[in-house]
Amino acid sequence: MTIIVSLCNPAFAEKRVFEPYVTQGEWEYETTGLYDLDRAKNKNAVQEYKNAIGYGVTSHWATELEVEMETLPTDGSVTKLQATHTEWENIFQLAPKGEYWLDPGLYLAYEAPLIDKQAGKFEGKILLEKSIDKITNILNISFNKEIGGSGANPHIDGGMSWSTKYRLSPYFEPGVEYYNDFSAVAHQLDYNQQSHQAGPVFYGRLNRHVKYDIGYLFGMSDAAPRGELKWVIEYEF
């Protein structure tokens, strides 16, 4: 039952594909958002917003603190927007870019709840990137485990995300992204009980300091919303 509940809340899953790189000494302020569109009232207008500040501590490690606000689905609608989590996120670059055939990295995060009795969550991701000429492919394989709280999911959940983009210009890079939350690793859910989403995403820079990433994901299974608008704006300094 916990599995089904978690799948009915697809906004909990982050819609971002992480590169396995960090930039030493760089600060960044980041704001991200998700807005779901669906015919079901408890899946429509589900929203998630994050504001984060991050820093590249070394050439191998970047860390970020973020606060998350979201609406939560209820039986017949969604709740008001409320602050639900803080998160400590870390990215480890495991090799210089281009040294090996595949660039590897690691993502480790802990999400602490701001609402009483909600569970915290540890999350780990393997980050892999391969560029071929002007086409960049990134794969993230993720695992997470809820801890504490009264309704913590006892299972280790998993998922994957994929991004392919064409490096057309620094200001505009068209691409596609795919997200899958297959939920409990030890249980095999039907395709429609898993969340599958894919769609076009556009990346680029507005100027030297500001980067964007905006896209629309189409739901490809029953558990996913019919549509989801996603965006990330980063200010680097």
């Binding site: 790189y21 930039t23 030493q24 000494g25 760089e26 590249g56 050439s59 090799a95 210089p96 870019k97 281009g98 040294e99 090996y100 055939w101 595949l102 590897p104 393997i126 892999l128 560029s131 000429d133 960049t136 394989i141 998993g158 994957m160 490096r167 210009s169 620094p170 899958n180 297959f182 690793v185 249980h187 095999q188 859910l189 395709y191 898993q194 030297r208």
Partner: protein, 112 residues
């Protein structure tokens, strides 16, 4: 079925990663940063093979080796060196610059 496939994929990545990640021994080229300029301003390298470039920052201030053509963005602290791995590159001209001093820190890598 999908879960099993993904678990196999993860195991495959873990097993094959060390093989895929075999480092190649490459003779390095060197670019020096001095007075916020890249020396030499043009570096010619062989096309079609991996290249290793040492960026030696002799200034006290940090600089960022950045290039959209080469898809690179690496900070090199003052008085330190970094290694930039590139290629294999197609024959052509690739621009790069120092992000912290864009007006004067400019360079070109020519692959031929």
């Amino acid at each position: 079925m999908l879960v099993r496939s993904i678990v196999y994929l993860v195991l495959g990545v873990c097993i094959w990663l060390p093989v895929l990640c075999l480092a190649q021994t490459l003779a390095p080229n060197t670019i020096v940063i001095k007075d916020h300029q890249f020396i030499p301003p043009q570096l010619t390298v062989p096309a079609g093979q991996k290249i290793r470039i040492i960026v030696d920052n002799q200034d006290p201030a940090a600089e960022e080796f950045e290039s959209f053509d080469l898809d690179r963005e690496q900070v090199v602290e003052g008085g330190k060196q970094i290694t930039v791995f590139l290629g294999p590159l197609k024959p052509g001209t690739y621009k790069y610059w120092g992000d912290f001093h864009q007006d004067i820190a400019k360079g070109i890598i020519v692959a031929q």
